[in-house]
């Protein structure tokens, strides 16, 4: 299933924008970049001083390359400016906030104006129509609804194209299967690890997706996965799987998406200006080289971000695509940028677990999360020396308490291993908290 069906007509949601010539696209980008810089210069002190320090006057920008004079915006900048520091419009003009934990555990806040929500839904609409989903389809959204952008942004876009949306959220696999059967779900939005888990449950129940379900395609993202995993999932379900890329800092999903040719993800360049840099030196790399993706938002009101370092490793593919879209593609994400992981279809940040553990008396600082399978999470916890009283019942109670509290936070029941203090390796600087033994 690597090429679109022969009789497939290529559909567009916004054909003029999606097939715009490269020249026109670049002029449009320059215009939007100027607008964005003008907007942040006037409204965000953080960016005003950055522009002034670089002696960059938005009015006098002549080329897209001028942006290289500005420093990068990092995850740390978002955390330091939490909650309102990077907001570019009055608080009254924002209608939604999403937050995302950073690698250091401090939150980042991302604001959406009404227009931002419209535009993010519109980009999803492009992605869905591009891959054949529209009116008459039923999309079962198995991403986490909540502070995580994944589910909501997709939800709005799917409604926009006229699909019936089932806001299933993750987990509760039996119910997912009933929903898929009862409503004849044709498309799912799902993480790769949950898709694999779902396939194993279907198999156990003797349900043959090809015969018993109506499923045609899956939109998969939120965690990096290999081409082999895609092929495996396509085979197990008898469907097409399309790779989806997004990040909360840039609206969530819909930043880049595969077309039916499944050869890299078209990144919507009329909304995002992309660069690839050497993650060590920050040097901008030539097109086609692999490095860290840096994105400048070009069409956001509430919280534009300039040269945001995504931490995701990819490369730009600029050869023409047979689908007719002129927006360049990025390759499958090669590096795990973020610490987020998924168990039983639920997005989990190590920081959530850390927060719970650190709030429990009797638990020492060091812990480790071990992912052995798609549905099992083991947390190794060092007990606190001072609270040990020789009573095994107290330890069993502590173990049960940790299990219950972590479960309440992440919605997945962990297996808790109590360890002696000093057992886990202590690394310099950032500890390796998550040991992922799964192969995907």
């Amino acid at each position: 299933m690597n090429t679109p069906e022969n009789n497939m007509t290529i559909s567009y949601w916004e054909k003029p924008e999606e097939t715009i010539t490269r020249d026109a696209l670049q002029s449009f980008q320059l215009e939007k970049l100027r607008e964005t810089l003008r907007h942040v210069h006037a409204n965000v002190p953080f960016y005003q001083s950055r522009c002034d320090d670089a002696d960059l006057d938005p009015e006098s920008m002549r080329s897209l390359d001028d942006i290289k004079r500005l420093p990068f915006t990092t995850s740390d900048d978002l955390q330091l400016n939490y909650p309102f520091g990077l907001l570019a419009v009055p608080k009254d003009d924002v209608v939604r906030v999403h937050t995302s934990s950073g690698t250091t555990g401090k939150p980042k806040a991302l604001f959406f104006s009404k227009g931002d929500i419209e535009r993010s839904a519109n980009l999803i609409a492009r992605c869905l129509v591009m891959t054949g989903t529209g009116k008459g389809d039923t999309l079962q959204n198995m991403m986490t609804y909540g502070l995580f952008t994944g589910a909501l942004v997709m939800h709005y876009g799917a409604e926009r194209v006229g699909a019936l949306v089932i806001p299933a959220g993750p987990g509760n696999t039996d119910r997912q299967i009933s929903l898929m059967r009862d409503f004849e779900t044709t498309a799912v939005h799902i993480t790769p690890s949950y898709a694999l888990y779902l396939a194993s449950v279907l198999q156990k129940k003797g349900i043959d997706p090809g015969k018993d379900l109506n499923l045609r395609r899956a939109y998969m993202g939120a965690e990096p996965y290999s081409e082999e995993t895609r092929k495996k999932i396509e085979y197990l379900f008898g469907i097409d799987v399309y790779n989806s890329y997004g990040l909360t800092e840039m609206n969530g999903p819909g930043v880049a998406f595969e077309c039916p040719y499944k050869n890299g993800m078209h990144l919507w360049e009329d909304h995002f200006l992309v660069e690839i840099i050497d993650p060590e030196t920050g040097e901008v790399l030539d097109e086609g080289r692999e490095g860290e993706l840096v994105i400048t938002s070009l069409r956001r009101d509430a919280m534009p971000l300039i040269r945001y370092r995504t931490r995701d490793i990819t490369k730009i593919m600029s050869d023409t695509c047979a689908c007719g879209r002129t927006h360049r593609r990025i390759s499958r994400i090669m590096g795990r940028s973020d610490d987020m992981f998924v168990v039983k279809g639920v997005n989990i940040f190590p920081q959530q677990i850390e927060q719970v553990l650190m709030g429990i008396k009797g638990v020492a600082q060091n812990y480790q999360i071990v992912l052995e399978s798609l549905d099992q999470l083991t947390i190794k916890v060092e007990i606190s020396k001072d609270l040990f009283d020789g009573n095994i019942d107290h330890l069993l109670k502590l173990q049960a308490l940790i299990t219950a509290k972590v479960r309440a936070e992440i919605l997945v029941k962990p297996s808790i291993e109590l360890l002696e203090p000093g057992t886990l390796p202590v690394s310099e600087g950032k500890a390796k908290r998550v040991i992922d033994l799964r192969t995907m």
Binding site: F388, D389, G390, I392, Q399, E417, L418, L419, P421, T423
Partner: protein, 144 residues
């Protein structure tokens, strides 16, 4: 009645932990009188009655062990049929519930001590002191 302290060590259930503890005791000239190991859910507690409990505690702590001292009752009994029954009758009569127990045999077929952990040790000691029982005394076991 001597205050009899047992050394409790937290340990993950993995090979080599007892080896390390006993090596430290061997090096320090600490004699182990009785040992009990409880293990559940991947971890365990090793309980030891030793002749020099303070030194044992200090050395284990220095070596990074998670260790604590707690008081146990050490009641003498005959090491022959009916010995434990005599003692347990007295415990039962006084409504003393055993949380954990193990045995130190001093002279095989002659004398042993029943080591027990109870919820309220002070109360248990008070009650049992009125009974016709003999208790463990450290001076008898100090190595010269």
């Amino acid at each position: 009645m001597d205050k009899v302290m047992q050394v409790s060590v937290f340990s993950e259930n993995r090979p080599g932990r007892i080896e390390k503890i006993t090596r430290i005791f061997a090096d320090e000239g600490i004699n182990i009188l009785a040992i009990s190991i409880t293990s559940t859910n991947g971890f365990g507690i090793i309980k030891l009655l030793v002749d020099k409990c303070d030194r044992a505690y200090d050395r284990l702590k220095e070596n990074g062990f998670t260790v604590t001292l707690n008081e146990v009752l050490a009641i003498e009994m005959r090491d022959s049929p009916g010995g434990l029954h005599e003692v347990s009758q007295i415990l039962a009569k006084n409504q003393i519930n055993i949380e954990n127990a193990y045995v130190y045999v001093v002279e095989s077929r002659a004398r042993a001590f029943l080591l027990i952990e109870v919820k309220d040790i002070d109360k248990a000691k008070e009650i049992l002191s009125k009974e016709d029982l003999k208790f463990f005394r450290y001076d008898e076991f100090k190595r010269r």
